[in-house]
């Protein structure tokens, strides 16, 4: 369980984006965060992952401090290194038990093609497979279904 207590996050301009947030995220559950544009959803996820420093407050996992080693993170925008194939990208994540091709039966990606040739939706799918391959206890997905077709989103 992730416990967030008194979390406050602001940007350089002293604009407080998250103010004294209290939140419990339970194990084996999927939690969705909904809000207006600019409400601080991405900031919250970045803070939980450790990419944004908090002003104060605590975030713990099962009552203890945690590290990036237990989280896989899918950012809003998915960038890829130009000139490598989808398979080469996935091979960076070491998980001998993960069957890329079985997962790809679901996503139907041309894994042996250069990523530059992928559409935006295909890139999102590839990033999702990358996150799944990391197989970590916590997954933070920022807009995971954005730009995906309806069938894949389901």
């Amino acid at each position: 369980m992730i416990t967030i207590k008194n979390l406050t996050v602001s940007y350089k301009s002293n604009k407080r984006v998250i103010d004294n947030l209290e939140l419990l995220l339970h194990e084996n559950h999927i939690h969705g965060i909904v809000g207006l544009n600019g409400a601080g959803k991405t900031t919250l996820l970045n803070t939980i992952y450790g990419l944004k420093k908090k002003d104060w407050g605590t975030i713990t996992w099962n009552g203890q401090k945690y590290s990036k080693q237990v989280i896989s993170f899918l950012p809003t925008e998915n960038y890829f290194y130009s000139g490598i194939t989808g398979r080469e990208y996935l091979n960076l994540f070491k998980n001998p038990f993960f069957r890329e091709d079985s997962w790809n039966d679901l996503f139907l990606l041309p894994l042996d093609k250069i990523i530059d040739e992928y559409s935006t939706g295909m890139k999102k799918k590839l990033a999702l497979i990358g996150v799944l391959k990391q197989d970590k206890p916590l997954m933070i997905l920022d807009e995971p279904f954005d730009r995906l077709d309806i069938e894949t989103g389901k």
């Binding site: 450790g50 990419l51 590290s67 990036k68 080693q69 993170f73 950012p75 998915n78 960038y79 890829f80 290194y81 130009s82 000139g83 490598i84 194939t85 080469e88 990208y89 091979n91 960076l92 994540f93 070491k94 042996d112 250069i114 990033a127 990358g130």
Partner: protein
């Protein structure tokens, strides 16, 4: 439209200078003066002038081949090639001035004609490389090499083959190592996305050491056959290719460290590009080499500090 374009270019230049800061700007200015002096020096005698013009034009061709704005210019501006000619002419001013000053008018005409013709060079189509033949030997960790070889495959194979096939000539092998070294130094200019850094699951120190070790291995695989072929024909001059190899190896380590000293996910850092350029100039202006080595030590600590923000959870 052309006027507006040059206005944008001027704004871009001013913005870049502002980003660099006064100290780096001064350093760049000193470097530029060094470059101009070196060009004047190298264009003063007959064998060097040809090499200088060749390297200078190769540099401008590389810029033309790597431009990302060609499609934009082509669709928006009617006579876009005129813009390219003016830009390349500006870049060639030190060479033109050097050739004029040293009265090499034939080479001057050749350089001017080249500058006018270079904008006509189109994009080199990416060659489909049989994965199983070449790229399978490169570990997936070295994605910079995989991507770089895909982009410059034809040039790398051509230069390497010429080097290996003509070691009896004293100059070809060192020149091949120099050109390959310059091409390979371009592999590290783009900052990879964050998941690709985190995928290594290593601490900042181990991450850097892994990157450098893998690079040394791959560059050695490429260079050692060239060096061996050279030594077979000129055993008494073994130190020439070895020196070229070691200089480029140190330069590549410096470029890797520069990249991660200024690393931000998904970006091409201007500061790292500027310092990378200083490194490459160090190959031609030997006085700069010690500066590059000292900077490499400085950037090692700076890159460790910069990467620590992303990799602080790994050991």
């Amino acid at each position: 439209m052309i006027k507006a374009f040059f206005y944008i270019r001027m704004k871009q230049f001013i913005r870049t200078m502002k980003e660099l800061g006064i100290v780096r700007m001064l350093f760049l200015l000193i470097l530029f003066i060094f470059l101009v002096v070196a060009v004047f020096e190298y264009t003063s005698d007959s064998p060097h002038v040809y090499v200088t013009v060749l390297i200078y034009m190769a540099g401008i061709i590389t810029i033309q081949l790597n431009r990302k704005d060609l499609a934009f210019l082509e669709t928006r501006i009617h006579h876009y090639k005129r813009i390219l000619i003016v830009e390349y002419m500006v870049l060639a001013i030190p060479l033109i001035a050097g050739l004029l000053y040293n009265h090499y008018y034939g080479m001057l005409i050749l350089a001017l004609v080249s500058v006018v013709l270079i904008p006509n060079i189109g994009k080199v189509p990416r060659v489909g490389i049989p994965n199983k033949l070449f790229l399978q030997w490169i570990p997936d960790d070295c994605f910079e090499w995989k991507a770089g070889i895909r982009k410059a495959f034809v040039w790398i194979v051509l230069i390497w083959t010429i080097g290996v096939a003509t070691p009896f000539s004293l100059g070809t092998v060192p020149l091949a190592i120099v050109i390959l070294g310059i091409i390979i130094s371009g592999f590290y200019e783009y900052g990879e996305p964050l998941p690709m850094v985190l995928a290594f699951e290593k601490s900042n120190r181990r991450f850097l050491s892994h990157k450098i070790t893998m690079h040394i291995k791959l560059f050695s695989v490429l260079s050692v056959p060239l060096i061996c072929a050279f030594i077979a024909f000129h055993p008494d001059k073994w130190y020439i290719p070895v020196a070229a190899y070691l200089i480029f190896l140190s330069l590549h380590c410096y470029i890797i460290l520069t990249k991660y000293a200024f690393y931000e996910p998904n970006t091409k850092s201007r500061a790292s590009q500027t310092f990378g350029l200083i490194g490459i100039l160090g190959v031609f202006i030997f006085l700069l080499l010690p500066v590059v080595w000292i900077l490499a030590i400085y950037f090692y600590f700076k890159s460790k500090e910069n990467l620590n923000f992303y990799l602080n959870d790994y050991y």
